[in-house]
Symmetry: C2
Subunit: 678 residues, 2 copies
Amino acid sequence: MKRVLAVMVGILMIGFLLLPGCGGGESDGGDAKPVARTTNGNGLGGDAAQVAKDRDLTPDDVVAALKTYMPTGRHDPYIMFASGGHSGQVFVIGVPSMRLLRVIGVFTPEPWQGWGYGIGNEILADGAIDGHELTWGDTHHPALSETGGDYDGQFCFINDKANARVAVIDLRDFETKQIVNNPIALNDHGGTMVTPDSEWIIEGGQYGSPLAGEYAPIDEYNESFKGMVTLWKFDRKKGRIDPSKSFAMELPPYWQDLFDAGKKVSEGWIFGNSFNTELATGAKEIGDTSFFEAGVSQRDNDYLHIINLKKAVQVYEAGKVEKIKGMPVISLDTALAEELLYFAPEPKSPHGVDVTPGGEYLVVSGKLDPHVTIYSFDKIQEAIAAKNWTKEQYGVPVLDFDAVVEAQVEVGLGPLHTQFDDKGYAYTSLFLVPAVARWTLGGNYSDLHDEADWELIQQANCHYNIGHLVAAEGDTVSPDGKFLVALNKWSIDRFFPTGPLLPQNFQLMDIDNTGDDIKLLYDMPIGIGEPHYAQIIKADKLDPWKVYPEIGWDPVAQRVDINAPQPGRERIERNGSTVEIYMTAVRSHFVPEHVTVREGDHVIWHITNVETAQDATHGFALPVFNVNLSLEPGETGTFEFTADKAGTYSYYCSEFCSALHLEMTGYFFVEPKQQASR
Amino acid sequence: MKRVLAVMVGILMIGFLLLPGCGGGESDGGDAKPVARTTNGNGLGGDAAQVAKDRDLTPDDVVAALKTYMPTGRHDPYIMFASGGHSGQVFVIGVPSMRLLRVIGVFTPEPWQGWGYGIGNEILADGAIDGHELTWGDTHHPALSETGGDYDGQFCFINDKANARVAVIDLRDFETKQIVNNPIALNDHGGTMVTPDSEWIIEGGQYGSPLAGEYAPIDEYNESFKGMVTLWKFDRKKGRIDPSKSFAMELPPYWQDLFDAGKKVSEGWIFGNSFNTELATGAKEIGDTSFFEAGVSQRDNDYLHIINLKKAVQVYEAGKVEKIKGMPVISLDTALAEELLYFAPEPKSPHGVDVTPGGEYLVVSGKLDPHVTIYSFDKIQEAIAAKNWTKEQYGVPVLDFDAVVEAQVEVGLGPLHTQFDDKGYAYTSLFLVPAVARWTLGGNYSDLHDEADWELIQQANCHYNIGHLVAAEGDTVSPDGKFLVALNKWSIDRFFPTGPLLPQNFQLMDIDNTGDDIKLLYDMPIGIGEPHYAQIIKADKLDPWKVYPEIGWDPVAQRVDINAPQPGRERIERNGSTVEIYMTAVRSHFVPEHVTVREGDHVIWHITNVETAQDATHGFALPVFNVNLSLEPGETGTFEFTADKAGTYSYYCSEFCSALHLEMTGYFFVEPKQQASR
């Protein structure tokens, strides 16, 4: 028996490298006895009918089940990138199966991927504000990088509303590469959006504040408080924002909300919403009931912000800026003098402005008005040329409403955001109905549909209280249609209750049809964050790495680290009271398996996962010192700490990697000071 | 228009309290035009057939889709609690839809639920080790509380392998209430499991270590390194572990692995596995290739640990313990003298020991042996009574293998863990095939099936490399059968690749049948952690709160906080340089909306969410100071910090709560020292 087992161990150790399916390609079904995957037009046999009957499924339920089900090994044709709200992360979801494929650690440390526990610590540290470490974010609006106004699958940008920060995710490895702080702002609901070639990442503010977060009393609101929009320059080659080539523009202290970039005919311009043009300052004392919610909702109109970005860049490049905490800022006076900024009235308290695929129209939803208001970019240009404006209190030209509006469509209560499809329809979320409104575009889009232009076609119910909505590539120059997801804020009775804290509800809808035929397909609970916005990209536009390109890859720099530990070159080096460890990991051992230091030593620990097989990830857990790495094949990681507590610590692989995974361990000895002998 | 809008604002504000579905009960379908949900035996119409054909779905795929699909608003009949591995959390998943309903923050801070960002900070702080803050854990084995050996739906316990900690989750609100550190150990793979009435929570160790993590050189392994198992006393009334009534038992420095509690006939005993009975110490120098993986796998047999818990409790209560760092420990000598501990040989390097529903048998899988080995509890008792043993090097009696074994079943390569159903089948995960093996039990279970006893019936393939598996209530005294989930460690090609880091794969299988008819139903990616073990409970055994019982509820103490802010009693109190804020939150404002302190003040901030409607959660985000709360209806939370940076900070509700959610904000002013006037 002994020999048999010894042979078996050998097979186990080698055999693991020959995993079924390792070579790529799709494996067949998951049954013990695989069934040939033949198409069968009458595939719905008695078994299926019986199941439908037993489970009380309606014909619509059956169709929905069949439209969303993914047999084992089949990949979703669309991938959704959703913000995680105050989870601080980004979620990657397969569409139409609505399966959560991955959480990407962004502003919040996440130990499964080692993010902030030995991996990426320096990136997270860059996100600190004036020495205040931040370990979360409020991610709102992901923006996939674009080329020619279409998603190109290379990067994803995301903002942190709570602290006015922007992160860059590289879609080769789906990991965060950069976090930049906005030095002049502390909140940035209006980010991120990109210009059609991702040269600029737009970060708008939200609540009026003194620039740079300085103290000013509320009584000085009108003078000392400001709005802003920041344009971050993206260096695609380096895969990083270049703060040294970025700038901001001061705006009146209205609460700027979402922005969108012009595209095609409107390229070179950006558009943003605002609310609290009332300049309400809230209930100043306890007992006072003049709350923001009332004060901010008084006026019939707020201001659509229309910004000539192309010209603003010229002004910035000409040096007509003042530097605030190092950030070049175009003052409001300069913006007006240089004719960079215009307003147009917009029905009250809008939440989103969305540019049509061809760039011809801007769709604005005033959430306290049941209409969407459609502005014509051409008419805006004509009004500007004709100086058809009045000026508001800060001197900004306000274009004549009737001169710039193309149409208004009554879509229902609480309209928020709009997306587009390939059939000439627009889709607007109605928070209060709650529903998704399908309505028809006019102009160039008339030929795409058979219905009347600018007309409500359907309100498709949601459960409940939809915020954003997202259609496949629905904010690009070439929307795909097919699927739409309603990002519902309340779920109430939709799922089994998990205590008083309930998940959000992503509802997938079938929009691959015409007329009033939108169908609900699937309810996906999100019990891990509160997504605000999402984008859906065709999966085949993404080309992620399956393993890192070379052994010893530094994912922060995205290149081989020439100092990375390599097989055969593992070592422990002491330099005074600093000990540097060069370790490798492979199924199923670390080299070295014993590391000894002295109490008080500073330890710098490098580990390379030398695997080349896809999915051969190793973890590295070290107790007490709060370390956990996730090292994907080829990846190298470095962490450091002070060994300030004598003891015997088992380190181990925290990712179940092989049959001998539990044996993948070692001892870290910290010799007590009085005993240290070496 | 002005009046119309004013009326509408009013409707919005009030109407939100009358949300559709708020009153509970199931709403109907999600289409714009609801379809009567009638049962239709011929429900599979031409549309469904066309979809199946277009999507190339096999008849098995169609059945699987219909068995797992949940129409909107229908609740999953089973709820799975899965560990999150090195994510440090617990995942709550609906079965059979395999939808992630909620992540429960346990050892890792998680801002969406406010966990560690103002909520639960003191619980997380309790998890520090000797002043070393720990912000992650490696959760392995959740244990639902039991009454009479059946899940009772009240609590969930979970261990942190990396730092030997145990947490308690209250299933009324699905939140973590306690984290205890094991003072004598630094790793605890063998936790948590409960005794049939949850009096004791079992926490076994893993890698041999000096007790209390003291330093000892590796050459002293045999003498100075120890194994251990800890029995934490659970006070069900308080909902807390009582460390003052808990104790541990010293074991030889073999690497103890999983434990299971005896039940019914074997109640009062606990059973654990071990490996590295070779006492291998790994490769001591770089260049040495005597790695743990080889050294630990040499012997044909390791030792099943058989512990008389009932008697051990008596020994502990009699004070026959030594205290190590405050923990009462029964020494190995005492354990032997008091006849608490026995061994039985078990085929090599086992991973799991699983007790059959009636408690008659223990199933052990030596992962380097293709058999499962079934021990008879009766025979073990007979062998103990007859002293049919030899003694191993530490003096522990080793029962005669042939005398205690009931059967061995050749199930396949890499057997790890076993679960049970209601039809007399056992299911064992086969890491290397990879597959789930279905085999028949004998003895009392023979009458439940028509097949031969102790016989392999089917290997159902997995994708790929299954670790644990879990059947519905499959480790209780009354398993349900129906569904089984394979917790696969590698997914490779199953899902669209999200970079080099891939999700795990939970595969749902249909076991509601007999013979070799196990069918794969669904692949669920887990891209947020690496679950090890899970338990599946009938949903109707859970009775979570929909809102907190009273306004001002402190979820840590699970009672009303008499000092919690209440509506009408909001205030700001200064006491020297400490400012205490009593704030309430309601749709859609905070009271107060302005808070002013002086630079350097210590701020203690209390907030109560005064909502009573289900799902009316409010967040509270404060920039720079790293605060984010999630306050469920009725909940009160308190956080504190030093206002060490002058400035103007907008705080806001971070959970989209209403149409006027963005307006739910306020200003926190920190007056500069030189300006502070009050």
